[in-house]
């Protein structure tokens, strides 16, 4: 269905622009606030624009919190979880899709049943396991439960199922073993699936809040999302500083998104719509 009349086109643009403004306004307000002094931020009526570019709020974020440590931790957690999922989920899904072994269907059904369970159900047992391993308040505790997912296994299995069997048979005739077939032939062909899973996982790991909040309370292994909450705890009313922290925390993902926009959007469509 296309809008043929100009009037219709203008109406669509009008609606989209109104929508865009309401999507962007909170971000614009956030950035404007970061440049205000505290006094400017609590002026009545509110000051829309700061009187001068005041960078002190950004400086303060770094002084109040080990912000760089938080950022480093978040990078480690995100990369660790993403790489782990790509490795473990692709191996498991290849086995489920392509290798005949006793009990395969039962095992896959078990993996599928995990998809139906809300993740919060696992939080308490996972916490107990991490506590018993003596890993509380460490980065591995944040990373380990995220290394594998039923969702990733399911998604990649769909990809492997769709690849022609002939490729595998030809490779076997040429003397490849299972791992070589997987590594040299199947994995490169499943690249769209791997990219989609990678983006989805990285986004989730970067933004995740509840698990790092539960499993870690030490500043040394705190991630950005929880760091923001602790910033809010300390400076509940100093919004220019809070906004500066929030903006800094969203910049890395924003930069990645700007470069990989197409992959992001396709990845989300793929992980959601299928």
């Amino acid at each position: 269905m296309e809008v043929s009349s100009n009037k219709g086109k203008y109406l669509v643009h009008l609606l989209l622009i109104i929508g865009s403004i309401s999507m962007l306004a909170p971000f614009v307000w956030m950035i404007l606030t970061t440049f205000k002094t505290y006094a400017e931020s609590v002026q009545v009526p509110p000051l829309l624009f700061p009187t001068s570019f005041n960078w002190s709020n950004y400086v303060e974020v770094f002084e109040l919190l080990p912000f760089l440590t938080f950022a480093k931790n978040t990078f480690i957690v995100t990369i660790g979880i993403t790489v782990g999922q790509l490795v473990f989920c692709s191996l498991a899904s290849y086995a489920f899709a392509r290798i005949e072994f006793p009990g395969r269907n039962v095992l896959f059904l078990l993996v599928l049943s995990v998809l139906m369970v809300p993740s919060q159900v696992f939080l308490l047992p996972q916490y107990e396991i991490m506590a018993n391993l003596g890993l509380l308040n460490t980065l591995p505790a944040i990373i380990i439960p995220g290394l594998f997912s039923a969702f990733g296994t399911f998604l990649l299995r769909q990809f492997f199922m769709g690849l022609p069997k002939e490729l595998e048979e030809a490779a076997r005739l040429d003397g490849c073993n299972h791992f070589q077939i997987f590594w040299k032939i199947m994995l490169p062909l499943a690249k769209p699936g791997l990219i989609a899973l990678g983006i989805y996982t990285a986004l989730f790991a970067w933004n995740n809040f509840m698990w790092p909040l539960i499993v870690n309370s030490s500043p040394e292994s705190m991630v950005l999302s929880v760091g923001l909450a602790s910033l809010q705890g300390q400076y509940a009313t100093n919004y220019p500083v809070l906004m500066a922290g929030s903006f800094l925390a969203m910049i890395p993902m924003l930069v990645v998104f700007m470069f990989l926009q197409k992959q992001f959007i396709e990845g989300i469509a793929l992980t959601g719509g299928k």
Binding site: V3, M23, P118, L228, Q232, M250, L254, I265, A269
Partner: protein, 222 residues
């Protein structure tokens, strides 16, 4: 605990309209798409903080804009009457981009031949929309409604960050997952907390089963 129901009911309609609009051949489509997608890639903790600031009763932008048209806005997030709706608005705003992408991929999956046939048969845009787009999109609408519902049921970050446990509004706004967090990790009652998550599991399975049953009445595959 009213969020899930309210939010799930309204936000997919919203997202759906946006996707229908964005799938048309219009200039600047990709710019709009990027803008609507921004909240999806933003940390919920940061989103929560920005909205808490927008909602601020004394210095917030929302009450300032309302005062321009002569309305005295309340203290959105600390007033038990409004806090829940304040959180719902943020959840809808943050979810539009994600659901839009799902709807878009569904819309693009509808074969152009249907539209050509409709055009030849002399169907107008409204008829085409209700007789072709809507029925062929129904599996996606079904998927999004289930996912939205489940997501909404699991809301935690927004309530923790926007309302916070110090607020008097928390009793009116806490979700099942927030209740679980409180009992498991703040009050240390792990048995009760486990009972809460088990109940959450049962509720989500039940709702999914009901939706699966109902879908036969309105979802068209092919």
């Amino acid at each position: 605990m009213g969020i899930p129901h309210d939010r799930a009911r309204y936000d997919w309609i919203n997202d759906f309209l946006v996707a229908v609009l964005l799938n048309q051949k219009i200039k600047g489509k990709s710019i709009y798409r990027t803008i609507y997608f921004l909240p999806v890639i933003t940390m919920p903790a940061a989103i929560a903080m920005v909205w808490k600031w927008l909602y601020n009763g004394d210095y917030g932008l929302i009450n300032f804009l309302l005062s321009k048209i002569g309305i005295q806005g309340p203290n959105w997030v600390s007033d038990p009457k409004f806090a829940l709706y304040a959180v719902i608005v943020v959840a809808i705003w943050g979810g539009i981009g994600y659901n839009m992408i799902i709807f878009l991929s569904g819309l693009q999956g509808i074969s152009k031949t249907y539209y050509e046939a409709a055009l030849i048969d002399g169907a107008g845009p409204y008829r085409t929309f209700f007789s072709i787009t809507l029925p062929l999109l129904s599996p996606i609408i079904f998927f999004v409604s289930i996912i939205s519902f489940i997501h909404a049921f699991q809301v935690f970050d927004l309530i923790f960050m926007i309302v916070s446990d110090k607020s008097i509004a928390i009793d009116k706004t806490q979700s099942i997952v927030y209740l679980f967090y409180q009992h498991a990790f703040v009050l240390g009652d792990k048995g009760y907390a486990s009972a809460i998550t088990t109940l959450l599991l049962v509720i989500i399975l039940l709702i999914t089963a009901i939706q699966m049953k109902l879908q036969k009445k309105w979802v068209h595959y092919d």
